[in-house]
Symmetry: C2
Subunit: 409 residues, 2 copies
């Protein structure tokens, strides 16, 4: 046996703790909070910032009708290839190719997955095994780190600058190149970055693509939020770069901007070798994205005229109001260039940050995700998904500021 590479199953699952994961807060106990709580329960409409509110921003018009049409199709729609319905892939490949400015082959380069989470799981499962060195960015989407560990890979972290101006922010290309030169064979990252909303610049994306090509590194690019781009910002699709690595997968889905999370739909598109592996894995994971649900993808990139623009404007308005609340409350908060996350940082408090996050929920009716989910050491930050009812969200942000004042050290 080979102890250094063998985690017990208990160790493996300790690393997968979901106690603070978004949406799981309902399972937490609050009985021990009395000991650290000071002051009274704050009134106000509870807001769950751990994910977007699809009541405030409802699913794409026509999405439920599309599901019902799919259901009416019967067997043909219930049982698709594991990689998803062929006619739906045809339609999507054209739209995704146009959006990302580089063609996608529907037969060999695209898989429909159960959500973007499903796509990430399959992409890392298809590229990471015991001992694989995987570059991850800190902070970045929390599941990236957990996935690398679950598949037995070794995380090679590189930092993201996110507290400066848009021009100053971004990943550290020197650290990334040094990782690529030291046996890192897979690099996974999100742009727009989750949780900060930083969008990697054209120069950065071009550099990452070239470095990966030069060192033979596989790239997994999570572009989940790339449609929710704020005014004045620009976005570079890595797959459209002139020089790209042989093995590369781009991940997107209609769960966020389009509020179709309840359908669990995502896509991955890229090198046929990786898409093929992902389909093999999908076959033992859950066979396919739910057949009838796949039909709702017909609405994606085909929303009514002006609908996406209106959704963007509404989010930008909430973003700006919340930034105002946090900044006037003294909480450093980067302006997200895209997406619907804010990542404010609070000052030293009289309670530890884990307790503060639980107090926010218990005392102020505000559910947020602790910064430590996104990178070790980020105790002072919290992530908010501001795709919420505007009035409730602003009041909740004011309660967060009030709580920070109440517990300020």
């Amino acid at each position: 046996m080979c102890e250094q590479h063998m985690k017990t199953i208990d160790e493996k699952f300790k690393a997968l703790a979901t106690d603070h994961a978004p949406g799981q807060e309902v399972r937490q106990k609050t009985s021990d909070l009395a000991a650290v709580m000071s002051g009274d329960i704050l009134g106000g409409v509870p807001v769950d910032f751990s994910h977007g509110d699809v009541d405030a921003f409802p699913p794409t018009p026509g999405s439920s009708r599309a599901w019902n049409d799919g259901f009416s199709c019967g067997a043909r729609q219930a049982y698709t290839e594991y990689r998803g319905s062929a006619p739906i892939r045809e339609q999507l490949a054209a739209r995704l190719g146009a959006f990302t400015e580089s063609p996608v082959d529907a037969t060999s380069e695209l898989i429909i997955t159960p959500g973007t989470q499903g796509a990430l799981f399959l992409a890392l499962g298809a590229t990471v095994t015991t001992g694989t060195r995987v570059g991850v960015v800190e902070p970045d989407y929390f599941a990236n780190r957990k996935l690398v560990e679950f598949f037995g890979g070794e995380r090679v972290p590189s930092p993201l600058r996110y507290k400066g101006t848009a021009a100053q922010n971004g990943p550290d290309l020197d650290v990334i190149e040094s990782a690529f030169g030291n046996g890192t064979t897979v690099f996974v990252f999100s742009t727009p970055n989750n949780p900060t909303g930083v969008v990697y610049s054209h120069a950065t994306i071009t550099a990452i693509a070239s470095l990966a090509a030069r060192y033979g590194v596989t790239l997994i690019v999570d572009q989940l939020y790339s449609r929710l781009l704020y005014s004045g910002e620009s976005y570079t699709h890595l797959r459209a770069c002139k020089l790209v690595p042989d093995d590369m997968v781009t991940i997107m889905g209609p769960s966020k901007t389009e509020s179709l999370s309840g359908f669990r739909l995502g896509v991955a598109f890229g090198s046929s070798k990786l898409i093929d592996r992902m389909e093999r894995l999908q076959a033992i994971v859950s066979l396919r994205a739910a057949g009838y649900n796949q039909a709702a993808l017909s609405t994606w990139f085909a929303e009514p005229d002006g609908w996406i623009a209106q959704r963007l404007r509404a989010h930008e308005e909430i973003r700006d109001k919340l930034l105002g609340v946090f900044r006037s409350g003294g909480l450093q908060t980067t302006t997200p260039q895209a997406g619907s996350y804010l990542f404010p940082e609070f000052p030293p408090l009289t309670v530890d940050s884990a307790s503060f996050v639980r107090l926010l929920r218990h005392q102020a009716g505000v559910t947020v995700t602790p910064g430590t989910e996104f990178g070790p050491g980020l105790h002072q930050s919290i992530r908010l998904n501001f795709s919420q009812d505007s009035t409730s969200a602003i009041a909740a942000a004011q309660r967060i500021v009030r709580m920070v004042d109440m517990y300020r050290a």
Copy 2:
């Protein structure tokens, strides 16, 4: 590094080949078949026996209405706990407890998964890691074997007798006990068995439960087809046995008898420790079974009066007719005691069995799954899901017999 336990990612995915998996046949090339094909294309309505036909046996009445109700609920139904909606789990726990004759705690002992495949993946992911010795039955559901390999476990096979009478059929308890005594720590099996329809007897189930308890073996019991039990047969739920192991999970779902496969819904229920691990894994695999889809579980175990009985009668009738066709054609075929699979065995042929399966599809319009998917060495058998239109299925079975005669050695 530790070579003996380290498969390359290429090796890992070679073991996951889906070229012959049910539903993937559409990706096969047929250009090379001309060299081995003799005779003409046979006429008739094509039948895809690789899975059930939900047009012939449509989804539970009310299931699409339940989905639409779920969609109308909005955010509450879109974002559930990873283990599934709490009120839906409450309802299901009571029904599953009654069905399996042993109570289920909705809070800690039940998880809703993306299909029964999803439940199996999570259950094996929660129990198998590098070097874990896992007992598997041959023949049994093909994914069991692939899952063990994917998670780095070591398969410990034991045979299933299935060509005798119901009283003679069943697993070999001596081989199983010897495996348990030799370091096997997980045992996974389906009853009713997929692909043969053999139901493990009361004595067998009691013995497996006792052996697992004595040796401290974790049991994963796939009962997907336990509702589709034919007249005169009886079924024993392992979890209701007096002596059971500490760690045990039962898996079911509404994809088969109830034809809800297009919703991708399944459940696993059992030891809270394992359900908890499965939820942690679900959090990085695909977050949750699609939220709106979960609402369709309200129809499960609550079908209209007589609906399940009628479905059973219809399947029993097709079963008996197909058994007649195959047996009078000289193909040994066990009478399934439950479920909708037949596993006929054909005599030596002039073409290899893989080509014969492809010829069946190309020349006779009949899609079946090769026996080798269910156990090594089962080249002479094919699996048919006979949940089909009766007339078309009988004609297709007659074409299979005709093809066997045409290619008989």
